[in-house]
């Protein structure tokens, strides 16, 4: 017995809608079994995972806080991947964006101008873009694989941040502990509503997602991205430059990752410290694919992934499910979503061994 795929003549609209629901259903079934085997109340577990975080206002704010960097990074990456550029170093661009964005408040803690915040955000974007420019340059100039250069640069960025916060940027009044001075109030990204912690970073994420969706859908640039992504040769015939596309997509995704970095530091943390991200840059890659590289889809997938983090915590507290189990559960959800998306482009057939044709046997 084996599985055969048959390409659909056209993308199935039905399964575009059904596939995430199917994935959710499969995850629920598996989850029920898993929690049952662990001796935990399965329904209670699913309740804390998917419902509990949505019931309170503060928790919804937290959801936005958690989803904001994921969405902001992932929409940039989606453009990259759609154009066949494999930036997987968003974590590093996030880090460098946080650093360059923090230059002003760290160097001028006494500067109380309303100008400081917009400047910080711009510098954060510039920093992220600059850091993504390195793999872009290496790819266009030396043909170096951007997957690896961007990945290696992540470690370097993290170590650089580590050195800065433990060394030259350390708060002199901070008993030598590794963090900078807390930013002055003018340098803190404000909260959107007074009812919780969600800050403007979430708005940036939504704006970026809508803008990029518009670009992909209605603008020539978006068309260039798709054409070059599908076939560099076809793109060349259409007069599009793959080289310029490398620069465009890498700088764009780097800038958005940088913006996410400085928003996170300024809006959520309030100072710079050695660890500012629990792997947002990498998780965002998964978010991008869960959202099928569609900016609006990514808003949804970012929120769902953020929900599983919050839900994992809720489950840990209310039913004592360890965070390892939460991670396994999260992994399962990812696998089911990824595999169910196959249904959009293919028909799946189970073929019994006896019934295979000669061709399939080959």
């Amino acid at each position: 017995m084996h599985i055969e795929l048959e390409k659909r003549a056209r993308v199935s609209t039905l399964f575009s809608i059904l596939s995430p629901l199917l994935a959710l259903a499969l995850t629920l079934v598996f989850g029920l079994v898993m929690f049952w085997l662990l001796g935990k109340s399965p329904l209670g577990a699913l309740y804390s995972f998917f419902v509990e975080p949505l019931l309170e206002v503060w928790s919804l704010h937290e959801l936005a806080v958690k989803a904001a960097p994921l969405i902001l990074i992932a929409v940039g990456l989606a453009i990259c991947y759609r154009s066949n550029n494999w930036n997987i170093g968003a974590e590093g661009q996030f880090t460098i964006g946080a650093i360059t964005g923090s230059i002003l408040p760290v160097m001028n803690p006494e500067w109380h101008s309303p100008l400081i915040l917009p400047l910080m955000l711009l510098m954060g974007m510039a920093g992220g873009a600059f850091y993504a420019a390195i793999p872009a340059l290496l790819k266009t100039r030396f043909n170096t694989n951007e997957i690896l250069t961007s990945l290696m640069l992540v470690y370097i960025a993290q170590l650089y941040l580590d050195w800065l916060t433990r060394g030259p940027w350390r708060d002199p009044q901070g008993y030598n502990f590794p963090q900078t001075k807390s930013f002055q109030i003018e340098a803190v990204l404000p909260e959107v509503l007074s009812s919780g912690r969600a800050h403007w970073g979430f708005i940036f994420a939504l704006v970026a997602a809508v803008a990029l969706w518009f670009m992909m859908r209605f603008m020539l640039k978006g068309f260039q991205v798709s054409v070059l992504g599908q076939s560099e040769r076809a793109g060349r015939f259409a007069g599009f430059s793959a080289r310029r596309m490398v620069w465009f997509s890498m700088l764009l995704s780097g800038a958005l990752a940088g913006l996410a970095g400085i928003s996170e530091v300024s809006g959520s943390i309030g100072h710079l410290q050695p660890s500012i991200s629990p792997g947002y840059g990498f998780t965002a890659i998964i978010v991008a694919f869960l959202g099928r590289l569609n900016p609006l889809g990514i808003v949804a997938s970012g929120l769902v992934l953020a929900l599983t983090y919050l839900g994992g915590e809720a489950a840990q507290l209310s039913i004592g499910i360890s965070d390892k189990v939460s991670r396994v559960f999260q992994g399962l959800l990812l696998f089911f979503v990824l595999s169910c998306d196959t249904l959009i482009h293919y028909k799946i057939r189970l073929v019994l061994a006896g019934a295979t044709t000669g061709e399939a046997r080959r």
Partner: protein, 357 residues
């Protein structure tokens, strides 16, 4: 089938949302936030053992929920707020990196009490607590100087924060009180937790000629390497004798349990106050693991020093002490004040390393 019904009933109760209220009034919740996994074999595990002791001692009166593997940063703030909202009366946040998050949440929930480990920011409902690990390091230094044939020990350090620098200095001072020419080599592993890297650092130090190892990182990997190479070593955070039965001289064991019980009792009695607490050997917040693999006279010396520190007769940082460059720091008989220690960013004479800036 019966199990299923019970499970369903429990879930229904949860769905109904009336499961938490009744218990919370009888039992107070004392909550814990961990930065690592509670089975990490080091820092977090020690805190969790403390929590379990608390559970054992006062389990009739308190519940002790916890959240583990909470990353420092915005996630920490959410986790702490979740604790405060879930009805915790007292929340222990057990990593330095949780400091600002704890401060922020404490301001939002004035009725909940918070205690932050190893930090320095306090509030009326936020206490800080720490352990005078350096007292144990001083004893280790003395033992090392007695036991080392070459007069050189190796120190696997994590990050150059005052806590670690203080430990290195205390070790060197202890060693010099026995052998004035004792040298200490330091390798920065730049991690709290990476067994492979810690093992590499241990091997590098041994290859550079040290014959005693001590570590300020969390896993037992250096102890294993020391055992394999046949040299002696000190354990960290928990008793690591299982990893080196013929190797471990002693270990600084973090015994937070005593502290957690003390503070929870204060909470129950209504005498809890926000304080900046820095307990030492005498308070039981740290304990020396049994002195093993050493001759009786060394053991006697170690026990004597331990007793002197407990009684307050001996303070490891008592002058005359010079800084690494030879300039004077403390005059004869002068004791270092806590403020200087908590912000320590220089080496004392004899440490063979440059402090990373």
């Amino acid at each position: 089938m019966k199990k299923l019904i019970i499970a369903l009933a429990a879930s229904a109760a949860l769905l109904g949302g009336f499961s938490t209220g009744a218990q919370a009034q009888e039992k107070k919740k004392v909550c814990f936030i961990y930065v690592g996994s509670r089975t990490d074999g080091g820092w977090t595990q020690a805190h969790d053992l403390g929590r379990q002791q608390l559970d054992k001692a006062l389990g009739a009166k308190v519940e002790t929920p916890f959240l583990e593997n909470v990353p420092e940063g915005p996630d920490a703030e959410r986790a702490i707020e979740r604790m405060a909202r879930s009805g915790c009366s007292l929340v222990f946040t057990t990593s330095f990196g949780f400091m600002d998050a704890t401060v922020k949440v404490a301001a939002k929930f004035p009725d909940v009490k918070f205690e932050h480990a190893t930090g320095f920011k306090a509030a009326p409902n936020l206490a800080t607590y720490n352990s005078r690990f350096y007292e144990g390091r001083y004893i280790q230094g003395q033992i090392a100087a007695k036991m080392s044939k070459k007069g050189v020990a190796g120190y696997i350090a994590s990050f150059p924060i005052p806590e670690v620098v203080m430990g290195i200095n205390a070790f060197e001072l202890g060693a010099k009180s026995v052998n004035p020419n004792f040298k200490l080599k330091v390798v920065w592993a730049n991690t709290w937790f990476d067994p492979g890297k810690e093992a590499d650092a241990a091997k590098a130090l041994i290859d550079q000629g040290v014959d005693i190892l001590t570590q300020h990182t969390d896993t037992t990997a250096p102890m294993q390497v020391a055992a394999e190479r046949g040299i002696l070593a000190f354990g960290q955070a928990s008793d690591m004798i299982a990893a080196g039965p013929k190797t471990q001289l002693t270990a600084i064991v973090d015994t937070w349990g005593a502290y957690y019980i003390k503070r929870t009792q204060a909470l129950l009695d209504g005498t809890w106050k926000s304080e900046q607490i820095w307990d030492g050997l005498k308070d039981g917040i740290l304990t020396m693991a049994p002195y093993t693999n050493m001759p009786d006279d060394v053991k006697a010396m170690a026990e004597e020093t331990e007793a002197k520190i407990k009684s307050g007769e001996l303070h490891p940082f008592t002058g005359p002490i010079n800084k690494q460059d030879g300039s004077a720091w403390l005059k004869a008989g002068e004791k270092a004040d806590d403020g200087t220690l908590l912000g320590m960013n220089f080496y004392v004479e004899g440490v063979d390393d440059k402090l990373p800036k």
